[in-house]
Symmetry: C2
Subunit: 330 residues, 2 copies
């Protein structure tokens, strides 16, 4: 801890998963604050495109590397902060290779912790609201122990992250590494993958393509959606200003039914209609963060209203789909 | 699956953790049935002593190897069955190096699955009643999702095993490996380590040494204790005769309060008195298996009454402590 540097200095920061959806926003923000940023990404679900505007900067490096492999030898020089965002987070992605998902969560986190221990750096794990599974209490507080199936198709992600949390806390207890754990709730915004498969991106892409918006079950299941800028603010707050390691929920407690989200997407895009499909196994009925702990610890408060975040996200997907169309036509 | 061999043939069986408490009984039993047995053990909590009577047999091999490391290259020739019992299971042992405990559970299981996949073998994971944490329902059925803290001092074991379960099921779903998962409840018997630290061995060792028997809290917390021979019967039944992969509870549903266990140990040893100590963090209040699934799947039924199992265990610890005394005097 004695070697730990303050955040008002220029820091060297590693962001595992730095070319992913949230990771790329975090990199941009940290870079804008004057820090040296090293993004590590397997580019399986992340993309070079997400960090294109940073690639020319002498204070930004992108290393293509799977976090499952150790990376001590490819990351040169001192590191002051390690953010671990390396893991596919959408069911469609994390279920493509569930064994790799588990290993990404567990070994990716282990490798981040090893790097942090080596440099006396602080290490933040982005865990997930999925550690609460299909929760029986609402909103979810950090001391709720969850309702997770350890053997179902979502377990690779949920249990991988729970296991990663336990590793992080053991590094703190037994090795004295300074750690933080964020439990991220649903987040949306530019740089989401077109095939992300989660509710906001699904609906926007469907509406833009003139396809019907797919609502699973009766659509009464809720999501609490946080705009990515608010989430990044929370991650940095937790890393730099929190007196406690967490786990701490980060998200937006405003609860919307899936049906309502569909309707507001239709309004934002200006077209679209809804179709219903059966609810898949293990799909959470409801998810709403209690963010009291983050508020108390470092004044976290999401500020971007849903309709405003939605407009920026629709604009991003419009560009993205247009480019894709041009490329496929070209 | 086409390569899978029947259990009435002579099988080549790998037992990871084969020199441990339960592992050594399993090895002895499988060896007695005529199979070739390869025990793999780090000898951190297991011991050569536990399998001494097998060491001269041409059908038994002990490989000293940490399951965290891959072992495909040290295990030669065909393997038909893989039992994974490689993990310290008592809190005092698994909390000594919690990071290693997590990795033993996750990577040890991964390595067993890889070996099983390579040979078309069936792979059985010994998971634990600890996946239920501090349960809110009694008895615990396999579909109970548990009440586990992912950040407490027991998480290395509990979450490690939950994560291992998810890996096993993903190997089944995505690679077609034939798998079984046992959730083992409290087990006792000869070959427990003197410093195991769990209730039965603690009480017996304390009574034999003329020390007071330590009861944590008011002693009303319960344990359901299964004699090791019954448990081994259950493991083989699950591996060879179960039509379902599990997870399946194995244990003895007879519930005893910790206070009652202390009193029966005092009766079996013929001396001893009780002292009370504060209850440690995260200590389960109650644990009782519902073994209906194991009964239906392969006729599992524990047969050894507690007082009978206790006599055999007391006799073992008497020999063990006498030897230790002779050695220290010698």
């Amino acid at each position: 801890m004695t070697r730990e540097r303050e955040s008002d200095a220029e820091l060297r920061i590693l962001v595992a998963g730095g070319a992913g959806f949230i990771g790329s926003h975090l990199c941009r923000r940290l870079h804008a604050e004057g820090h040296d940023v090293i993004a590590l990404d397997s580019l399986i679900t992340g993309s070079r495109e997400n960090v294109r505007e940073l690639l020319g900067s002498p204070r930004f490096t992108l290393i293509e590397r799977d976090a499952v492999r150790g990376f001590t030898e490819v990351v040169r020089g001192r590191i002051d902060r390690v953010y671990n965002l390396a893991c596919p987070a959408s069911p469609v992605h994390y279920q493509m290779d569930p064994i790799h998902t588990t290993l990404t969560s567990v070994l990716g986190t282990l490798n981040c912790l090893r790097l942090a221990e080596r440099w006396g750096a602080r290490c933040l794990l982005t865990s997930t609201s999925e550690v609460y599974g299909d929760p029986e209490v609402h909103p979810q507080r950090e001391d709720y122990r969850g309702n997770v199936s350890s053997t179902g198709p979502r377990a690779c992600y949920d249990e991988g992250k729970r296991c990663a949390e336990s590793l992080v806390m053991d590094y703190r207890r037994t090795r004295g590494v300074s750690v933080r754990i964020a439990r991220i709730f649903n987040t949306y915004g530019p740089n989401m993958a077109v095939d992300d498969g989660r509710v906001v991106s699904n609906f926007i892409v469907q509406a833009l393509r003139g396809e019907p918006l797919t609502v699973y079950g009766d659509g009464s299941q809720t999501r609490s959606l946080c705009y990515v800028d608010d989430l990044v603010e929370g991650l940095i707050g937790l890393m730099e200003r929190s007196p406690v390691p967490g786990p701490i929920n980060l998200g937006n407690p405003e609860e919307l039914s899936v049906l309502e989200i569909a309707e507001r997407v239709i309004a934002a895009v200006g077209r679209g209609r809804i179709v219903r499909r059966p609810k898949p196994e293990d799909d959470p009925r409801r998810r709403k963060p209690d963010i009291g702990a983050a508020e108390r610890a470092f004044g976290f408060q999401p500020r971007v209203p849903f309709d405003e975040g939605l407009r920026a996200t629709v604009a991003y997907f419009e560009r993205k789909l247009k480019t894709a169309l041009l490329l496929s036509a070209g």
